[in-house]
Amino acid sequence: MPERVSLQLTAKDFKSDQEVRWCPGCGDYAILAAMQSFMPELGIARENTVFISGIGCSSRFPYYMNTYGMHSIHGRAPAIATGLAVSRPDLSVWVVTGDGDALSIGGNHLIHALRRNVNVKILLFNNRIYGLTKGQYSPTSELGKVTKSTPVGSADSPFNPLSLALGAEASFVARSIDSDRKHLMSVLRAAASHDGSAFVEIYQNCNIYNDGAFDVLKDAATRDDYLIRLEQGKPVTFGATGQFCVTHPPGAFGLEVRETADVAPNEILVHDETITEPAYAFAMSRLPGLDLRYTPIGVFRNANRASYDSIVRDQVATAQSTVEDPESELAALLSSGDTWTIS
């Protein structure tokens, strides 16, 4: 992990000289702002921070961070980031991607990065649409979605990004929302301190092609009854007055929402992101309905296992430690095996 020092930096220091070019009102602005205000507290030098993205509106993100950055090609950011992370332990490597970039064309690289537990932080801006290409449905769009490419409705049921990540052995899985800067920052904080892959889904509003997709989680009228804030070690309750809670009925594998009043306190589910058994986080990922009712946000899973790049680097370091002078070692290698001399 890159060293953390206290640098007197502010959010401004992380703003690049490029002006931000998303549509006015795009949720990406809020995420950018949250990231820029979070970076200083992370205490990693700007030059040791790298953002790698694919293609999509969200993937414009690196241009706006005054760090190193690469706006690569569609879907390939996790692969490129793997090459960087495996060779540069001193860097803090972030991948910024979209629901199409990460889950459609980039699906294979995503699941393999998570399986390997490469030390990269993957931020998936999920607006449930292809923004840059003018609004076709994406792998997270709801079944039956009417778009330019599906005039009578889409025929594919969507991925649940968190379920997919968990099925791919992800060691860190979280969700947040563009509009809730405080929460978003807390999730970024947790992701940054996780050693290994961190997968963070961020619900993001595309006000041009899929406006209001997450309004029920934002509107004062509905959000309290729809949104569940997971907090480590705390009983899972929600609602304006905490009138609802989540329980795990004996025998059942899924979770259930009930009126807090009807439930004995010890029956209320206590959130524990550290459970090694992924079945817990998986069950949690299945809680929301298609209408987004009962959407948990926060850290679902935060488990420890050696990162791919640390293992690989240890193998290389161990081997290297045996070599005194590479040149003579090379000479020895070249003349190894069965040689003969002609004079």
Binding site: N48, A79, T82
Partner: protein, 591 residues
């Protein structure tokens, strides 16, 4: 083990020279200890630059056989060992202290450990032959394997067996089953590719070892890492015949080499590019189908102007084609297989040992000029081997590179990622971790100098031409022509692995009193400055290729020279004999 050749099965195994159109070189090995079951395929003794398909393989049914035949087995030969018999007891019996299959003492050879006995027994499972007979059929299994390896007839051999054992139907069944099982084993697992033993025309004094092209290529990359002091990261996805580059490099972590077996070829080149971005030398190795998948990322690397080495060990296509067979048909893909104007450097290795130097050269160009380089080899030289005169490490080029360390704007305040070096036309290699050089790059068109996103028409035209010009401007040595008689009117131009056979053919022609000039291209893009002049100075230019004329089409386009193509796409290298005949015709007709 050590069973005497009583049963006819074994007889046959020891007497396969009686088989119709089976290579005469195959006979019972010299100095076979009594009771040693093995057979050896010998090398015809003609100008060994002619690979032809002269096979050279020892099948050692047990440790005794190995021990007995190793001494007179030429270096680089194939050894197929029957692992079932290499038990500690058997090894001890013939006085092996350590297992030769593991102690590296067979490094100079191409070793194929195969469970001949067990597989034969399994193959005969259904027909209930007594275990002992089944075991004996293992020679037929080996024979089937060799027959596939050297494209020997299949039907006729089976017919022969049928005739031979007409009296004993059960033996026909057993032998046929074993023979076909061996044949199919060769075809199904991509483990068996013909290896050609090639000896250079002249062998100056020095220390030698036998080396295959893939090993040499990998060692060239190791040497590059050492001489450049760069970490080397190989991103690769296994594919025949390129996998051995990955296998070899994976052994040399001690030189700061990291190998990542990626989920696919696109990820593999992504890993390499990410590593190059971070200041390592990013390399990806594959074969044609893999390169076809990497095109989009190569195009990105062209836009990013970062070092990147793409190794293509060509095999017979299109599509899956014949994975274990050789071909030169990826040249045009290497030159043009990407969208947009995306020029890259393309260079080719000419022989097994040349793969070592070609790899170093390719890496040098990639790091010096910050560009993707495609290095072409093929199955023939990748698996083929030749004696290699070991280089003096200190004599290898110094490959150290300079990373950008501070702002490069005239006033020294800003970093301009696309401000070019006046000589190399390369942009600075500014790696993450360097304070003050934070910058963003990407695949969208960039403004000259600043690298900011730009949709400006004039800038785009300028950048497109600049990317082409900077590759075109790369210094490559003039092409050398070999014409000892000095009066040749016909030039043979080749590239890549045809170097050996073409050279042998030319020497043979000259011995026959005819003059012919030979030139061989390493640099396919950019091409040597003097090439046009050289081509125009001959009456006729002949280009032999293992494709339908890919280099020929490029030469015609660039120099408007009406070259004569000679093309064979058989999955086999040229034999010098056929080239000799062909060239003789051209020279005569020109007289």
């Amino acid at each position: 083990t050590g069973d005497r050749f009583t049963s006819e099965t074994a007889q046959l195994g020891n007497d396969i020279s009686t088989l119709p159109n089976f290579p005469a070189e195959i006979r019972a090995p010299a100095g076979t200890l009594p009771g040693v079951s093995s057979f050896q395929v010998h090398f015809a003794d003609y100008d060994i630059l002619t690979p032809g398909d002269a096979p050279n393989v020892l099948v050692a049914m047990n440790p005794a056989a190995l021990k007995a035949n190793l001494p007179d087995l030429p270096r680089g030969a194939e050894i197929i060992v029957n692992t079932d018999e290499f038990t500690p007891r058997n090894l001890a019996k013939v006085g092996y202290e350590s297992n030769p299959l593991e102690d590296g003492s067979l490094d100079g050879f191409a070793l194929h450990p195969v469970g001949l006995t067990s597989m034969t027994i399994k193959a005969l499972d259904s027909l209930n032959v007594p275990k002992k007979d089944a075991e004996r059929a293992k020679n037929m299994f080996a024979l089937g394997l060799l027959s596939w390896l050297y494209s020997r007839p299949y039907e006729s051999t089976l017919k022969f067996l049928a005739r031979k054992f007409a009296a004993k139907p059960d033996l026909i069944a057993a032998n046929t089953a074993a023979f076909t099982a061996g044949w199919n084993f060769g075809e199904t697992t991509e483990d068996f590719a013909v290896r050609y033993e090639v000896k250079p025309a002249s062998m100056p004094p020095g220390q030698y070892r036998n080396i295959t092209g893939n090993t040499a290529l990998a060692l060239g990359l190791v040497a590059t890492a050492v001489r450049s002091k760069l970490a080397l990261v190989l991103g690769a996805y296994p594919i025949t015949p390129a996998s051995d580059v990955l296998h070899e490099l994976a052994k040399h972590k001690r030189f700061g080499i990291t190998t990542v077996q990626a989920e696919d070829e696109i990820a593999a080149i992504g890993v390499a590019l990410g590593a190059s971005y971070g200041g390592s030398l990013g390399v990806t190795s594959t074969s044609g189908p893999g390169v076809a998948l990497k095109g989009e990322t190569i195009s990105l690397a062209v836009a990013l102007e970062l070092p990147l080495l793409v190794v293509d060990i060509q095999r017979a296509g299109p599509s899956t084609g014949m994975p274990t067979k050789t071909e030169q048909a990826d040249l045009l893909m290497a030159l043009y297989g990407r969208h947009g104007e995306a020029p890259v450097v393309v260079i080719a290795a000419r022989s097994p040992s040349d793969c070592f130097y070609a790899a170093i050269d390719a890496a040098r160009i990639a790091t010096t000029y910050r560009t993707p380089v495609i290095l072409l080899s093929d199955g023939y030289i990748a698996n083929g081997s030749e004696p290699w005169r070991l280089p003096d490490v200190s004599s290898l080029p110094d490959l150290q590179v300079e990373f950008a360390t501070e702002p490069n704007s005239p006033d020294g305040t800003k970093f301009l990622p696309y401000l070019r070096d006046s000589i190399t036309m390369a942009r600075p290699w500014a790696v993450p971790g360097t304070p003050g050089l934070e910058h963003r790059i990407g695949g969208l068109e960039k403004a000259d100098i600043t690298g900011d996103i730009s949709y400006d028409p004039t800038n785009h035209d300028f950048m497109v031409r600049t990317r082409a010009a900077r590759i075109e401007a790369i210094e490559v040595p003039d092409i050398e022509v070999e014409d000892p008689d000095g009066d040749a009117r016909v030039l043979v131009l080749g590239w890549g692995s045809t170097y050996g056979p073409i050279g042998a053919a030319c020497r043979a022609l000259r011995q026959g009193g005819l003059s012919v000039a030979q030139a061989h291209l390493r640099y396919l893009n950019p091409m040597p400055r003097n090439l046009g002049a050289v081509l125009r100075s001959y009456d006729k230019v002949v280009i032999p290729e293992m494709n339908l004329g890919q280099l020929a089409s490029v030469i015609r386009s660039k120099y408007l020279v009406d070259v004569i193509g000679y093309n064979q796409v058989r999955g086999l290298p040229f034999t010098s004999a056929e080239l000799e005949t062909m060239l003789e015709g051209v020279v005569d007709s020109n007289a």
